[in-house]
């Protein structure tokens, strides 16, 4: 059986592969940054940012960036 597990289709162009790869890398990083062992160094109370404990601001920041990455990806796909 030659079919191997793959996440992306082999029919994608190099540019598509790069864009999807970059987006995937961000979301993997985002997930890791909310979990042990990447999150604990940022899981602190101070400084308070926008009135929130730093740990909560950190999660909000990841959520906002993830949203922006998603919007960028969608717009890039729509332009093509």
């Amino acid at each position: 059986m030659r079919r191997t597990p793959r996440f992306f289709s082999s029919k994608l162009s190099t540019t598509e592969r790069r864009v999807y790869g970059a987006a995937t890398a961000w979301f993997v990083l985002a997930a890791a940054a909310m979990l042990w062992p990447l999150y604990p160094p940022f899981a602190r109370v101070r400084p308070l940012v926008f009135g929130m404990p730093f740990a909560l601001f950190w999660l909000t920041l990841i959520l906002v960036i993830s949203f922006l990455v998603g919007v960028a990806l969608f717009r890039w796909e729509s332009r093509r």
């Binding site: 909310m34 101070r46 308070l48 009135g51 990806l73």
Partner: protein
């Protein structure tokens, strides 16, 4: 006019609007299962956005979210985290699932998986797992509704009646309008609860502390341990990173798998609608911030409230707010409960008919018979959940934990179906069986839960460890058939 009459009036008004929206919206859909279950695959962005948002935010969000922040502090942050990444896998596979659905006429998750693996037993097994996972979930929503009614009417409406009224309304519009009823009521309910969460989440810290910043400043001095993740566990001792992280992981896995969300992939009008819904999901998710602020607001001003889940109603009832506002809260909490309960109920009936009865029936059921059977099952399933909600002492929370563990076992099956051509029916069935057994074993042996990691995670690992070797040891499936599903 006594306050409780105003409160009840606002709540009844909300219920009437939900009912009217739910009944009105069903007129356009066709009468067969494709219309009743998948809305003829015509849903646009706005409605799908609110269906996904409001189905996910259940009674747990409105009562449990503040309750967690109040009693367990930063442990509650996990509910903000899992939604950030939970829906992203859909971006990769949902467009293909939708295309396959259009081509082969699927309206449920198990139809896709059973067809891919050419296995009727897989369909029946998935239907049973789904039903077992849904009942406690639905029960919890009903209890939440009864509870809210009871508190805001100061005990005049007993739990059983409150749950019966709210779910009577749900049953009517789901029965009459199917997924269109679920969709349009969720849009109304979603806007309503979002507005209320932001309003209360910013107002309460302002009123009690002078602002969100001032509140956290005061909390940072008095109880810094409550503000630093992973927060506290249910007993009030420091929680572990394993418990916190695996709670995120199991919820995030469940997000893209829970059959009642998954089915909504088939309702989307187009690939662009589906992708936009996924991308905009975090804008809904962020309303958990004010939800958590509410719980944090209670810590210093209202110590010792039990159960912790009653912190929001407790604060509201003690603040001398206008009765109208309390009524709005009551309606908002009901909206949260009902917008989840309706999706569960609708999906449970649909799945049992399509994946269980249609598959096991010796002859093909007509479209008309299927819709009638779904409606009949809606009555039965509501009755069972209602029985557990008001009359039984079974620990629902424990059952719900098991539910999450079971549902997560579908994830390896789905991934194998779409990404691994060599996966075989024997492999996925064996994986499911071992995965579910592992979840039960770990659930009832807390000592085995290394680092307080959720039993579902151990289940997924065991599932994979069986799925792969058994697939490799059994005969591969027909390549042309499999190629229709797997990414090349």
């Amino acid at each position: 006019m006594p306050a409780w009459i105003v409160v009840t009036g606002v709540t009844v008004g909300y219920l009437m609007v939900s009912l009217a929206v739910g009944l009105y919206s069903g007129r356009s859909a066709t009468k067969g299962p494709e219309g009743f279950i998948a809305g003829d695959r015509t849903l646009g962005f706005l409605i799908l956005y609110f269906v996904m948002g409001a189905s996910i935010f259940s009674a747990f969000a409105f009562l449990g979210g503040p309750g967690w922040a109040y009693s367990r502090g930063a442990a509650a942050f996990y509910i903000l985290s899992y939604g950030t990444i939970g829906l992203i896998p859909w971006y990769a596979y949902a467009p293909r699932v939708a295309a396959l659905g259009r081509r082969f006429g699927y309206v449920t998750q198990a139809e896709l998986l059973a067809h891919r693996f050419k296995s009727r037993s897989l369909s029946a097994v998935l239907a049973v797992i789904t039903l077992v996972a849904f009942i406690p979930y639905l029960t919890l929503q009903m209890q939440g509704a009864g509870y809210v009614f009871n508190v805001v009417t100061e005990g005049r409406v007993p739990h059983w009646l409150g749950a019966a009224i709210a779910y009577g309304v749900v049953l009517i519009y789901v029965y009459a309008s199917g997924v269109m009823g679920v969709g349009w009521t969720n849009t109304f309910q979603g806007i309503f609860m979002m507005g209320l969460a932001w309003g209360l989440g910013l107002y309460l810290p302002f009123k009690l502390y002078g602002g969100v910043g001032a509140m956290f400043e005061e909390l940072a001095l008095a109880v810094p341990e409550m503000l630093a993740p992973p927060g506290l566990d249910a007993a009030g001792a420091p929680w572990s990173w394993g418990g916190y992280g695996s709670a995120i992981a199991i919820s995030a896995i469940g997000f893209s798998i829970w059959p009642h969300y998954f089915m909504k992939i088939y309702t989307a009008k187009s690939e662009a609608v589906l992708k936009k819904t996924i991308i905009f999901y975090p804008t809904f998710q962020i309303f958990l911030l004010p939800i958590m602020f509410i719980g944090f607001a209670g810590i210093l001003r209202y110590p010792g409230v039990t159960p912790a889940d009653s912190i929001l109603p407790t604060i509201l009832m003690s603040m001398d707010l206008p009765a109208f506002v309390v009524g709005l809260f009551c309606a908002g909490a009901l909206a949260a409960s009902m917008s989840t309960g309706d999706a569960l109920l609708h999906a449970a009936g649909s799945i049992m008919v399509r994946d269980f009865f249609c598959v096991l029936s010796p002859r093909k059921l007509t479209d008309d018979e299927q819709t009638r059977l779904i409606r009949f099952l809606l009555l039965i399933i509501s009755a069972v959940a209602y029985f557990f909600a008001v009359m039984s002492n079974v620990s629902i929370v424990e059952l719900l934990l098991l539910s999450y563990g079971f549902i997560a076992q579908i994830a390896p099956v789905l991934i194998a179906a779409l990404y691994w051509g060599r996966a075989t029916p024997q492999g996925v069935l064996a994986g499911l069986a071992v995965g579910c057994a592992t979840v039960i074993a770990f659930q009832y042996n807390p000592a085995w839960q290394w680092q307080q990691i959720h039993p579902g995670i151990f289940g997924v690992l065991a599932n994979l460890a069986v799925l792969v070797p058994v697939s490799l040891a059994t005969a591969p499936m027909d390549e042309d058939h499999v190629a229709q599903f797997v990414v090349e």
